[in-house]
């Protein structure tokens, strides 16, 4: 699998440290599922996280903390068994996305957007929203009104944006300053996962992510 457009360092690190809104987390988790090199970069950041954790001077635990933890373990011994569920991805949707769709491609309850395009909005935290878009081959993306950061991950087919072609596994990160009209490539209908942050729920992190793009 050759993914040509990977997630940027800033976004990947914010994912590794747990500082992205859920909608963006879903895009990054799906991207990493499709791109081994992004997974390598993610695990490298996590390795650094481990080193940082180990380097911290600790806060002392409450009295009886260990015993309380052992009680937690004996009260909930089933946790380990529950975690064994193995997710199997379908041909189009990576595992984390299947969790949000509640099944595979056939289970999606698409809503028409006109001109053959359709979408389904997935449930996530309010800071940002995330949707699946279905664009017929050769058609332009409908205006999906992003006012902040927009991340788009291609799951099927491809789209062309300016000189760049984005195919399965590729991620495009854009902000509102970037005027673009992505067009689904001919050959196959295009399915994308697109997340944008809701402007009224602007979280502290987003300006930092925005920074590199504002220089464009």
């Amino acid at each position: 699998m050759s993914v040509r457009h990977q997630v940027t360092d800033d976004v990947l690190t914010a994912y590794a440290t747990g500082d992205l809104p859920e909608a963006f987390n879903l895009v990054v988790a799906s991207h990493v599922s499709l791109c081994d090199e992004a997974r390598v970069r993610l695990e490298t950041m996590e390795a650094l996280g481990g080193a940082v954790l180990d380097d911290l001077s600790g806060e002392s635990m409450s009295y009886g903390s260990f015993e309380a933890t052992m009680r937690l373990i004996s009260e909930r011994p089933k946790e380990a068994i529950k975690a064994e569920v193995v997710r199997k991805s379908c041909d189009v949707l990576p595992g984390p996305l299947m969790d949000y769709v509640g099944g595979n491609l056939d289970d999606i309850n698409w809503r028409p957007l006109g001109m053959g395009a359709k979408q389904v909005i997935l449930k996530s935290s309010l800071e940002a929203n995330v949707r699946l878009l279905y664009i017929p081959s050769g058609a332009a993306m409908p205006d999906h009104g992003h006012t902040g950061i927009e991340m788009t991950l291609v799951l099927q087919g491809a789209f062309i944006d300016g000189d760049e072609r984005f195919a399965r596994g590729d991620i495009e990160i854009a902000n509102e300053e970037l005027e673009h009209t992505p067009i689904a490539d001919i050959g196959e209908d295009c399915i994308c996962l697109a997340a944008t942050n809701a402007p009224l729920k602007f979280s502290g992190l987003l300006p930092r992510i925005a920074q590199p793009f504002l220089r464009i």
Binding site: L48, F66, R76
Partner: protein, 216 residues
């Protein structure tokens, strides 16, 4: 509280002392002649997790707890949790560690890194009150035991990284720590600090490539 005292070990070879106790002798450039010595110095805690998994060894868990719980608590507090919430979450993180000890893969991560990811996920859950979409698991085939030589090299790289973080000038260390508490722009950490992220990245890449090969 006597359970916290390390005693003579009955499980034989490769029992790790608390990590970095031997830091002074553990020179980073020199090669140890004996594999067991490398295991002792460069794979801290790996055997503890094995003992927790294989033998439900409470003493190993206690030692791990005494080292990591205060650090996890500090991580959570620096990320914005109150003392009480951090205490509660840390106990849950440590309980998860016990319950999921079978999922730890020493060919892919150090114990510190694994605990970092558990703590981070708990942080998202408790502080951000969000679900955490995870990348698809790359599961090992039933026969695929981690290769001991690969485990050793990765664990050594993690120890090198850990030592490198510890020996950074205070200012740079602070910078990196703040990045992991969601408090700073994350870009180009490696470039700015000269940390040996390149080597660890190539180890992780090799492990993933092998995994992909095995899965075919």
């Amino acid at each position: 509280m006597l359970t916290g005292t390390p005693q003579s070990e009955e499980f034989g070879a490769k029992v790790s002392p608390p990590p970095y106790v031997t830091k002074g002798e553990d020179n980073q450039t020199g090669r140890h002649s004996d594999v067991a010595v490398i295991a002792l110095n460069d794979a801290p805690w790996v055997d503890h997790v094995r003992r927790i998994h294989a033998d439900r060894d409470q003493r190993a868990f206690r030692e791990l707890f005494d080292h990591f719980a205060p650090r996890v608590k500090a991580f959570l507090m620096k990320s914005g949790a109150s003392e009480a919430l951090a205490e509660e979450c840390t106990q849950e993180v440590m309980a998860t560690l016990w319950n999921k000890s079978h999922l730890f893969n020493p060919e892919r991560a150090s114990v510190a890194t694994w605990i970092f990811t558990i703590a981070r996920n708990r942080k998202i859950d408790a502080l951000r009150k969000q679900r955490r979409p995870e990348p698809e698991d790359l599961t090992w085939g039933p026969e695929a035991e981690p290769d001991q030589a690969d485990v050793m090299v990765l664990q050594q790289e993690c120890s090198r990284l850990s030592a490198a973080v510890k020996s950074l000038p205070d200012k740079q260390r602070e910078l990196i720590e703040r990045a992991f508490f969601g408090d700073l722009s994350h870009s180009e950490i490696a470039a700015e600090t000269g940390l040996p992220l390149g080597t660890i990245k190539s180890r992780i890449r090799l492990a993933l490539e092998r995994l992909r090969r095995d899965m075919k």
